[in-house]
Assembly symmetry: C2
Homo-oligomer: 345 residues x 2
């Protein structure tokens, strides 16, 4: 049964970006869309509720060749993780009225032809729905897999997290505290540093922008060295951390946000420390760990409901705010996980 | 019973070194030594037969602070791995007449007060004794532990070895071939490249000094990418390798000889590849694997005797040649494992 067309505003990437992205690299487009599943298709029709702003999206704004993610297509809507409501479904795994999270478009309505591997049905609605862009979605699984599966953490170890108030970092710090580790985080403002200590329970935190020398700062908080570094930023911080790792330390490489807008990345000079300290440094991608998602939900949802794990979001209202919210990630404008609220359910 | 004094020539490090080391950073000293164990001591008196020149020794020539190895003491003999004959022993683990390998001095005779943890008794003498500075000593164990324990190799994988004709590299390549891997090595001269292919059975080899662009060279030999990189050199080669690693590749970081003489190390720019390809990069030190030495000997000695594994040494004659032999490592002067023959048994 054909539905009538409705208007659907979109956020379009105008062109591939080099250097620091600007809001003007994006534009809005007013389109119309028929809210039905094309005949014979297993697509689902989504009403987008929340969109997720994540650092990796900067990479997709560039013209990439043979990377692990595809470039965004210029003149098309940006795509990314989001929370949506199913309006119609040609896929038997999803029913009209279901709430889902996964990859969707930066627009009011999307028709998604992906299979169930990239859309997750939301079962527990007794938590803020926006959490499925964060603690209950990709960033939550990233923190969980990165910390528990890649870092091989042990009680009593010393843990350093960069970009620690971000979508992933705030969780890594809380997971490490739950395990009985000593945890220090770095962030880019006094407000974030306060949040790390007062809200997330980090033992210590510092504002990297106020440190003359990152090596000195790390030695202040880790006089005996770092067992685990959860790497979100790269560049100079990584170099300073390498000097301060302990014997048999582990570095889980999750992201390198300090490098994403540079046309020539910074060189890392202290890799010889990998030998002298027998360090394991390992990159990972959350997509290889989604089989653990049910187990993660079972652990994390009670922790959220009991208040033992908290999550801070920075919610921008309306699709109109999306370009600014995305750009803001790279100047550290957001406090906590950056979300865009497109529509209430 | 007090012995008479004998003359013992020594190789002395005159001062700590910055930048490229020169023969004139060392000098000879003629001393005399009493060839008996000091009363009440468990020292052993050694007649040194072969001394080993190893890249890590460059680090010890520098003034180091808090590194994994101690600086050499200026005005004292250099120390390093060697093969020696026990002349007197205050340690019940060693008898007069035993042949041993381990850390000794760059001199004709040494009195070593270390315990049996740094001296290994030589049981099989049916192989060249000098091999205990190489294939049957520290470099052999380095190749064995680094390849089998750190690289997690599997039959059919693609393996790249830098400094491939060196003391360690030539063995890593042969171990990888034994396992059924495709193996490519890089070295710094045509003669070494020929050796890799004709003597050690590498599938391919190239002279890195003749390549305009290392990335292009690696793509020529690894059109589908590298599963395992055995890292001996660091710097630009590491950067090029990162671009050519396969998904879930492993990098065993054994050494970074290209960086040892630089006052400011080269920056490595492509570490983001660790994430995109989920690479594990791990530094290791042979000293943590000596418990596997008996198992290694059991495997390798028959391979040597049957000619299935070969080993090329570059033997400099006489203690007088030691400074030049050591310096030569850093210009790639040696072909194969660099040894100094001090005395025949």
């Amino acid at each position: 049964m054909a539905k009538e067309e409705v208007s659907s505003k979109q956020v379009i990437l105008k062109h591939h970006v080099t250097g620091y992205p600007k809001e003007s690299d994006m534009e809005f487009k007013n389109t119309t869309i028929k809210l039905n599943v094309p005949e014979g298709s297993n697509a689902v029709v989504l009403k987008n509720l929340y969109l997720s702003c994540d650092p990796y999206m900067r990479l997709r704004m560039s013209k990439l060749e043979g990377s692990y993610v595809a470039s965004f297509t210029p003149a098309s809507p940006i795509t990314g993780y989001g929370v949506a409501k199913v309006l119609e479904s040609g896929d038997s795994n999803f029913q009209k009225g279901d709430l889902v999270w996964g990859i969707t478009g930066w627009e009011e309505y999307s028709i998604v032809t992906t299979t169930h591997t990239t859309l997750f049905k939301i079962h527990d609605k007794d938590v803020p729905l926006s959490y499925y862009t964060g603690i209950l979605g990709m960033p939550g699984m990233t923190a969980y897999a990165g910390f528990y599966e890649v870092c091989s953490p042990k009680k009593g170890e010393t843990v350093f997290v960069s970009a620690a108030s971000g979508a992933v970092g705030q969780l890594v710090g809380q997971f490490a505290k739950m395990l009985g580790c000593y945890v220090v985080g770095s962030a880019g403002s006094k407000e974030k540093v306060d949040l790390l200590k007062s809200k997330f329970g980090f033992d210590e935190a510092f504002n990297y922008k106020e440190e003359q020398d990152l090596d000195t700062a790390l030695k202040r908080y880790f006089p005996d060295g770092i067992d685990i570094y959860f790497e979100n930023v790269g560049g100079k911080m990584l170099d300073a951390v390498l000097l301060n790792m302990k014997l048999h330390g582990r570095i889980a490489v999750c992201g390198m946000i300090s490098q994403y807008n540079l046309e020539q990345t910074e060189g890392v000079h202290n890799l010889f420390c990998l030998i002298t300290k027998r360090i394991r440094m390992e990159g990972f991608l959350v997509t290889e760990y989604y089989h653990l998602y049910p187990k993660y939900l079972e652990m994390i949802i009670p922790q959220i409901k009991s208040g033992k794990v908290v999550y801070v979001e920075d919610i921008a209202e309306g699709l109109e705010s999306a370009p600014g919210a995305l750009i803001g990630l790279f100047s550290g404008h957001n406090i906590g996980k950056q979300v865009v609220m497109v529509s209430h359910e």
